[in-house]
Point group: C2
Chain length 733, copies 2
Amino acid sequence: MRSFFTIITSSTSIGHHLFSRLSSRRSHSVSLNLTLNRHTPPPMAATEESLRRNLAEMLSAVDSQGSSVRALKASKAPKTEIDAAIEALNRLKLEKSSIERQLQSIVSGNGADNSVTREAFRQAVANTLERRLFYIPSFKIYRGVAGLYDYGPPGCAVKSNVLSFWRQHFVLEEDMLEVDCPCVTPEVVLKASGHVDKFTDLMVKDEKTGTCYRADHLLKDFCKDKLEKDLSISAEKAAELKQVLATLDDFSAEELGAKIKEYGIIAPDTKNPLSDPYPFNLMFQTSIGPSGLTPGYMRPETAQGIFVNFKDLYYYNGNKLPFAAAQIGQAFRNEISPRQGLLRVREFTLAEIEHFVDPEDKSHPKYSEVVNLEFLMFPREEQMSGQSARNIPLGEAVSKGIVNNQTLGYFIGRVYLFLTRLGIDKKRMRFRQHLANEMAHYAADCWDAEIECSYGWIECVGIADRSAFDLKAHTDRSGVALVAQEKFLEPKELEELVIVPVKKELGLAFRGNQKNVVEALEAMNEKEAMDMKAELESKGEVEFYVCTLEKNVCIKKNMLSISKEKKKVHHRVFTPSVIEPSFGIGRIIYCLYEHSFYTRPSKAGDEQLNVFRFPPLVAPIKCTVFPLVQCQKYDEVAKVISKSLKVAGISHKIDITGTSIGKRYARTDELGVPFAITVDKTSSVTIRERDSKDQIRVNVDEAASVVNAVIDGQRTWEDIWSSYPHHSEECEE
Amino acid sequence: MRSFFTIITSSTSIGHHLFSRLSSRRSHSVSLNLTLNRHTPPPMAATEESLRRNLAEMLSAVDSQGSSVRALKASKAPKTEIDAAIEALNRLKLEKSSIERQLQSIVSGNGADNSVTREAFRQAVANTLERRLFYIPSFKIYRGVAGLYDYGPPGCAVKSNVLSFWRQHFVLEEDMLEVDCPCVTPEVVLKASGHVDKFTDLMVKDEKTGTCYRADHLLKDFCKDKLEKDLSISAEKAAELKQVLATLDDFSAEELGAKIKEYGIIAPDTKNPLSDPYPFNLMFQTSIGPSGLTPGYMRPETAQGIFVNFKDLYYYNGNKLPFAAAQIGQAFRNEISPRQGLLRVREFTLAEIEHFVDPEDKSHPKYSEVVNLEFLMFPREEQMSGQSARNIPLGEAVSKGIVNNQTLGYFIGRVYLFLTRLGIDKKRMRFRQHLANEMAHYAADCWDAEIECSYGWIECVGIADRSAFDLKAHTDRSGVALVAQEKFLEPKELEELVIVPVKKELGLAFRGNQKNVVEALEAMNEKEAMDMKAELESKGEVEFYVCTLEKNVCIKKNMLSISKEKKKVHHRVFTPSVIEPSFGIGRIIYCLYEHSFYTRPSKAGDEQLNVFRFPPLVAPIKCTVFPLVQCQKYDEVAKVISKSLKVAGISHKIDITGTSIGKRYARTDELGVPFAITVDKTSSVTIRERDSKDQIRVNVDEAASVVNAVIDGQRTWEDIWSSYPHHSEECEE
């Protein structure tokens, strides 16, 4: 491990990565090899490059032909000659336009149409979500605050359903130890975790107005804009801009500043010059207690609350490994200028798991339950070689070592099951492995569950094997050993390396440097020591590098003894590794909205109706009850059904407005309510399923139990559909 | 309403009240009448006063007899005389001690024993809670932070159960609109609510070290200490100190400072002098965004998030009143020096309801469902006259006007049902009405659900009719009208008061004061105006007080016309009243722990075993499964049962440690697990109920459904007990 630690000082700041933001706080990643960067574009598509070259040629051809025409006119050449030259010029211009069009279509992501469609789709979803109060920009009557959103009633119900299911799927089924820690956190904790020093984004300021911008965003916008809108740039320039886009996540403050200067980037709103980039800490700072002397922060993640409690939790678990602790709670990040609506916010709900495991045994007892799952995975190799994500059986990924270990694999499988059961489309979901330069230096392996939505591929869950880093950091800072013990069934005889420097000889040889040499000798690992022993025995002396002296010294045989001694040990003490699945609940919910949304024409065909195809698990309300017309008899039947639904624990609403039944269906479709019971007789009612719009006729006293059976998953709608008489409603929609 | 608003400027700071803290933020209460203060002690108990007088007499008697003895000795009086005088002195001393003992017992709350018992009980509960990780002092390895606590695994499960039940009992059963707003709140919102200016406590600083103290705490401690430990103070002094204790919640900074000076109170830790008291705002401050120009706070309550969304929520509810919105979430208060463990913390979970209602109709459609409840209520009258809380039927309290209106009464009833179903002892719970000086000036009526625990009576839920205050405050500050409309079925003809000043005449009569007079005339309410009209018609002129001029003026008939005009109106626009039940979830849970805790001797009688008698609803785990001895057959049976429990959704644990069954029972009793299934055969098992320790024998395949039936409330344990064969286990406990 030791050698890794020397790298930490040169690591880039935390929170610098756009797409790996959930875990970015700790991705002290180092881009040692820019050419192998994950963002390195695949070699520029042949067509694009040749089009750029053709365009450049064509531009100069147009230019020179233009000159010819002007020259002919000036020299009063014969009209036929001039006309011919003009015709040639027009041909060239047409050709140029055609090349421009082709190029335009390529640079705007293979079809501007596609991005227009995405934008329109996103707008349709957003309109429905906002109109039906799934969410509300916070403090709207005071013109709101960027990056803060409220969940309105249906959004709140969806969130509560997602969290309940999370608790069921992970905490209860896996016997995890759930904890609930405060958001207000004293500085010392976040100093230990690295957040105080490294949880920063690089910022530039408008030198006149003081408006702040994220430096990487400005550079990114500039490059994208140039590539998409300025078709005249050379193929070389285009390649350079692409390289910048691919690597800017790893730029230092100096590199970013240099590029901003080189490209002449100015403040987008005012055109004023910009300051040099400097780091801005993303934590909301506050002060604990009245003295003003105890700085504190609003936690940027929930994980630290678990780490600092490791000792108690380990004890609670009977001093046994492995075990997992979990926490659901608010986290806070004071983004510089939040964009991307609900995906990049300043306060959000995280659900995090810390699974503590013996680093020497990362098998998982329930691994066999997920081994046969198969889904889209995007390993490092495929990303580096420009390939796409592909379906890989989880068992294969683990056995081939693509996924580092069983426990990591188990959680990848469980996350897959969690997301798909919520209603995330498995075709638009993939597990992407972090590249070497994205990962924290101490991490063994990291995978992100990414979901595709109108904003692109969004990291929604990070699953990382963080080795012993966090527990060690808190052990070091607090002085409390956060370790586990393995008691051996019977004592083990172990060989132990013993290095005994002969101080007298060393003193004679090295005088004032003796201490440095002794420390370096004692710090040798087993291999280094045994190699030295062999060399001393064969040659009598050996060259030895002392890093604190920055030079080689000559060690002789009489200066130390190296041996191995046998020792009986009864247990081993070690720092557990932690495997951390971390869920951005708000992002998952947003992607779920997009994956569940569709429109269909109204019966009259004059408008598009919006539908959310939420599974019953997620739906904010499971069932509505509609008396067809306003009359006391029907209202009473509705009440009877409502009572049975309540007993069965099914959340539902009665809608007694006199609105047409079609309108009422449309209204509940927009909320994603899966079933509607319409009271149109006193003996029997109809039950309508949202997506098929199929209706069956059921006796009043059966209605609640039929709905319950489908919601509970005991029966499918298809099964119900084949067991009850069908109902066709003339006047629907 | 208007006259109330003039009082606001003289209101005391928010957050000043110890026992009404949950709602204190807005209790701009004014103590107009100190002698009627709720804290005014009942006349000092006759015995205490006479004992203090007797003690004073006895002290001077001992003193003078001592002098006599010394004088006799000095004058070498005969030994017999001296001995007699000494004997008399000793008799007096004995008598003095006896009076001191009696007095001591009275001043320490009728028996020091009682407080010792309370302290010991609290300690026993705390030990169990901390040892079993119900809670953990936050950031313990870094020596913690005062006023911050984690919920450990069982505590987290209890909290989650309490919140689920709250959501079921209030949000779902009452069709409330739940929202979820951020904790980070911009200043403008909390400026409107009054928190930025008034949410303060008075603080003093150690002038040398800068250590901060709550000024009222120091004064309180001083008075209590003096009363309990200095028996020599006069009855008059004792009465004065008691009066201070009774009224200090209403002291201004100046009054507190004066008393601290008068009593010579110094810093308790260093004996240094103290600064004058000054207000400290209890909100955690932060800054939103990178500019440092947008101050924000961590919300001190969740209610404001609902108020600012009123318009959208009203629309969502089909523009109909009444409706309620609800929110569960974290709230933050930067206490000066938190005491009282889990009851006074810096971050806590609130669950708040804002029920919006037409101020002209505060009836509630489901009122009849609670009207027959009867429980301890402590109305204003009883508190003022020194009586105790008493059982009052809720219907009576509402019909007699003790509780202001039906809706307030309905929520009091619902809160009662909520708390008792959680397991709060109804004999140690009461609803206490706020006294006039405790309530905000705008509030119509307030009741606190108080629960008695080892710390005394603790406010756990505040239920307040806050009238239109909050919506009006945000309407004023934001400029967005937070109002409701009532559409009349048919237009109403209303009489409207019309006051038309004749400016010419008024100008002639009042010149420079004309404007003040005109404004005062136009501000008259209907009664004032009609009285003036009558008087003008009979006498031709009238004396009229103009408050902005602070004098009477003479108004003549020709100076204005007063009339009533008929007008057709189609709707009325008004600001809804809000009735707010606000739940301190952490406090409720702590009281629940104390009410659920008891000890019983172990079977051997050599130790006390701890038990939490949580109802299944609350219990962190519902059931444990114990294979009696470690063998594969029993383990397999345990797994089969576990599977059925899982299908039934019952949270449970299997404990396969080889520990004695008695120890395993004791261990789960400490977690409050209601049922244990012990596998001691392969065909049948025993089920043990926690509190009775009764065991029945049940077939393996019935076990899960029997436990489920009791947990669901379908059957009682008594019922089960009479239907199955009993089992007596020799070796238990």
